[in-house]
């Protein structure tokens, strides 16, 4: 049908003046298209997850605490309010309060 209409697919070889393309092996193909993107993905994943994982581990008793102050179940201003407790009020409560001390 195409031949009867005088139409035919065009065939053309690479012009001789063009430089020869270097041969790309299957291994090069795998490295460029698979291994390098995979390596970048793993690197980004590690950068994101390792610090988050470290934070999720939380504080252990062996690690230095520093100047941090944490209150649970108490008003945060109590640390500053402790400086405002008068010696009279403190000595009055000392005889009535209980408790114990310890070290580890």
């Amino acid at each position: 049908m195409l031949g009867s209409l005088g139409l035919a697919p065009a065939f053309a070889d690479t012009p001789a003046a063009w430089p020869q393309q270097p041969h790309v092996s299957g291994w090069d193909y795998i490295v460029v298209l698979l291994l390098i993107p995979l390596g970048v993905f793993v690197l980004v994943w590690l950068v994101i997850t390792v610090p988050a994982h470290r934070r999720s581990q939380g504080q252990a008793t062996g690690e230095p605490w520093g100047d941090r102050r944490e209150w649970f179940g108490g008003p945060r201003q109590s640390v500053d309010a402790a400086d405002e407790v008068t010696p009279e009020a403190l000595s009055a409560s000392e005889h009535e309060t209980g408790g114990a001390s310890g070290r580890w």
Binding site: G58, Q59, T61, G66, P75, D83, S101
Partner: protein, 132 residues
Amino acid sequence: MVPVAAGDGFSPEQRRDIDRAIRAAETVSRYEFSVYVGAAEGEPNAFARRLHAALVAPHRSVLVMVDPDAHSLEIVTGTAVRRDLPDESVRLAIATMQSTFEAGDLAGGIKRGVALLADAARKPETLHSDQP
């Protein structure tokens, strides 16, 4: 001496667990529980008593103070709490907390200590004799 960087503090999960333990302790004992974790200013026992005295209702409050760097632990009970929570029970809770801290579990020691204090301060249920 090379300075050692401070840790990241409690994780969100640890904070949530400690908050949950405090709420449970307050529900069980009907007393207020406060936990302070940080450096004590001056002598630890005196600082803990000042913190306790500065609470909203110190006579009905239990203060647990933990200084992780000084390895110091203080528990102060108010006058009303002391009637249900004797110092001997506080010392037992401290011993448990010490062993957990020595194992490296700061948040776990606080949780266990608060739970023990609350259990010890729990009032016995009243048995009504007029029920058949």
